[in-house]
Symmetry: C2
Subunit: 222 residues, 2 copies
């Protein structure tokens, strides 16, 4: 079904707009965070992670335009929440930057994956579902960040408390901004709950369990 | 001939190191400059330009390591000059950012192309020559920047003087830092003059002529 002549489906445009701005902003913030790296090899890895976001942004923006919507307008409702998230979570050093990439990107990816998988076909057509799943972060970046954090904590165990607190702050801030987005864009909530077996409490349980497992995996406390 | 067991060839390591740091820093600065864009589509293009630099950095660093040198040490002699160039030429707005990308990247590319083409095979083996030519900027970015500058000047002709002055400052600052590098790394000068038909005055004439043509093409005065 082509949407070219019909009204663009608001929930899908919202979802793609949210992801598009998240990618563009992640590029910008990770590019800045990369300068916190202790050496050029590490700086290049975070810069490369940042660069990957841009290709994703371009694909999302192209699809938004294809659906007959304006990318600039599609991202507008999400700018304040995402800007605020990043303003409230500016890393002070390399380990905080890595932890932000590891914890933040992973939980965001989990959430997006759940939305894409639980939305009904009527609300999210297969091509858009595939696009959304395709712009998730490459897992090798999370693996890299996890290995770096583990290694740093092995060398400096006393950093564990500080990073655990930092991770909790990241999650708290993300949840706070997610609630704001949900309140402002009920279409996104409808998308999430449109599937036959939508179970929001179970979803949050899965997200939390996966987050806790990731924290433990690198030696951080939830 | 493999360099793996021999002493790494200093001039080649210098050239690759210079280019590597230039790419890493260009990523960082263009990523920052992208936030000056008046809209997200333009911001994404400059971010994409920035992202392209990182893949180039990774290739150069990999080759430096393959030659038996340490990428971190290889870039060290060039950091101050390149940092200073960017510190002295921070764009104040979107048009200055575009002009910097257009004028600066093009003249740097011309210079690198001349070095790669004029160095003798004995000094720069074909694989390294090919790598150096391959990490030049994609010409579609210069085309994009040129079209944007032309369009902006058509809408706002009075910006021409300011941008012309800005371009002259960019070139002057680049030349000043290039002289500093040449004085500190004679190996690079030797590389440039190692070819059978090395003619440095003719080289500078070609670089200047190409720069002047680029300026005229977008309506700027040299």
């Amino acid at each position: 079904v082509s949407h070219l002549t019909a009204e663009p489906p608001q929930a899908v445009v919202d979802l793609l707009g949210l992801l598009a701005y998240a990618e563009l902003l992640a590029f910008d913030r990770m590019a800045t965070d990369a300068t916190l790296a202790p050496d050029l090899a590490r700086r290049a890895v975070l810069s490369e992670m940042a660069g990957a976001e841009i290709a994703h942004y371009q694909r999302l923006a192209a699809r938004i335009a294809e659906l007959g919507a304006d990318p600039e307008q599609a991202v507008a409702p999400f700018r304040a929440a995402l800007d605020d998230f990043h303003d409230q979570t500016q890393p002070n050093d390399w380990l905080e930057a890595l932890t932000k990439a590891y914890v933040g990107d992973s939980i965001a990816d989990d959430f997006v994956r759940e939305v894409a998988q639980s939305a009904s076909d009527a609300r999210l057509e297969p091509a858009d579902r595939a696009l959304v799943l395709d712009v998730l972060h490459d897992s090798r970046y999370a693996d890299y960040a996890a290995a770096e954090i583990q290694q740093a904590l092995a060398a400096e165990p006393e950093a564990g408390n500080r990073l655990s607190m930092w991770a909790r702050r990241l999650v708290g801030e993300a949840l706070s901004q997610a609630q704001r987005v949900a309140a402002e864009r009920p279409s996104l909530v409808e998308l999430l709950t449109s599937g036959a077996d939508a179970d929001v409490p179970a979803l949050f349980h899965r997200l939390t369990a996966a987050h806790t497992a990731r924290m433990s995996a690198v030696g951080l406390n939830n």
